[in-house]
């Protein structure tokens, strides 16, 4: 076992992990932050996206030991300090950017990473950035609308491709 220490959602945390412990497992099973979802466990679906030192990564495809000393943000860190939904989360609610909700944590974290890089993305840029996030309910249109709205842009009638 290896002792790891990192900052998760602004709080210092420590734990004992095996070499093979995935960051997603450490977050969910050791820290009980179960908002980070594991859909495929094969790095395709993106439900497990979290930020490590400000960058979006798939938590199921990174060892917890690799996050030693890192600053990690999960979906639980996206709400406002008073517990109300953050801007991106609220936009997902307003634009019905989810149905079953399983992919939503990863979608919100990817959206946050995109908007940090590119504060006013085009619809095409939003769709391209979500390449690694799979939703099987919505058909993506309302997710794209929510992200455009969260960027402060007016939301056009998003055309079906």
């Amino acid at each position: 076992m290896t002792r790891v220490a990192m900052t998760v959602n602004g709080k210092a945390v420590t734990g004992e992990v095996e070499g093979r412990t995935l960051l997603s497992s450490f977050l969910r099973e050791d820290l009980h932050l179960t908002g980070t979802h594991v859909g495929c466990d094969t790095s395709q679906c993106g439900a497990c996206v979290v930020h490590v030192n400000g960058q979006a990564v798939k938590a199921c495809t990174m060892f917890a030991a690799e996050a030693e000393g890192a600053d990690v943000t999960t979906i639980e860190g996206m709400a406002n300090a008073d517990g109300s939904l953050g801007t991106i989360q609220q936009a997902f609610q307003d634009f019905h950017g989810l149905q079953c909700g399983f992919c939503t944590p990863g979608m919100v974290m990817s959206a946050a990473a995109l908007l940090k890089e590119n504060p006013t993305p085009t619809e095409a840029e939003v769709r391209a950035y979500l390449e690694g996030n799979i939703c099987r309910c919505t058909g993506y249109h309302n997710i794209v609308k929510a992200i455009l709205a969260a960027s402060g842009q007016s939301v056009p009638a998003v055309a079906a491709e």
Partner: protein, 261 residues
Amino acid sequence: MHNFEFVKPSSVADAVSALAGEGAQALGGGQTLLPTMKQRLAAPEKLVSLSGLAEMTGVSSAGGVMTIGGATTHASVAADAGAYPGLAGLAAHIGDPAVRNRGTIGGSLANNDPSACYPAAALGSGATIVTNTREIAADDFFQGLFSTALDEGEIITAVKFPIPQASNYQKFVQPASRFALVGVFVARYADGVRVAVTGASEEGVHRWSAAEAALSANFSAAALDGLSVAADGMIADLHGTAAYRAHLVKVMTGRAVAAAS
């Protein structure tokens, strides 16, 4: 996944020491190795993490050569390799954004997946693979599917790319995996054109010498008109026949030439 000893060295020298002995393997960004270990297709006894080694990270250019540290992520190459736009564009379309934030150029080249993008850039640029012990020309480095000239425990510390006058990479993605069904990297240098093909051949990444000769004489897509690619030795699977891949090699080469800047 079978358990293993996790080692995070703080220098290349320490990493080399940690890799000595049976059962040890280097860990780059892990974007291929972790899924492989989950399927128990790999079960190293010790993983030596190369991420965070400052001496193996970053992009720099001098004297017409771009040097990229082996532990540099795809996202960093996409952002920082502006002096070599063909290479930056290739890096910007590997996997998806989260994968690009972890996956590394050294890891990709060492793995030499027959459908990976970076081998085409390295071979198409006549790059030099720099390891902890030596320098290897790209023409000697790639040795078939998942096989390279690297010895056990040898680490790719950097890759040196001669910057071409014009270049482009065209990838026809396999619609499920988004890996290259066929990818072609074209680079035009003062002394000739290089064309490298990934995704297509059962032998892995390779050069298309007939196209190189034609394009060196006339750098235009029309120069390819009289050429054809044999289907022999091309990969055939449910995503495309050997003949389809052979056809795509020529199409994607033409597109790369037309788009080269």
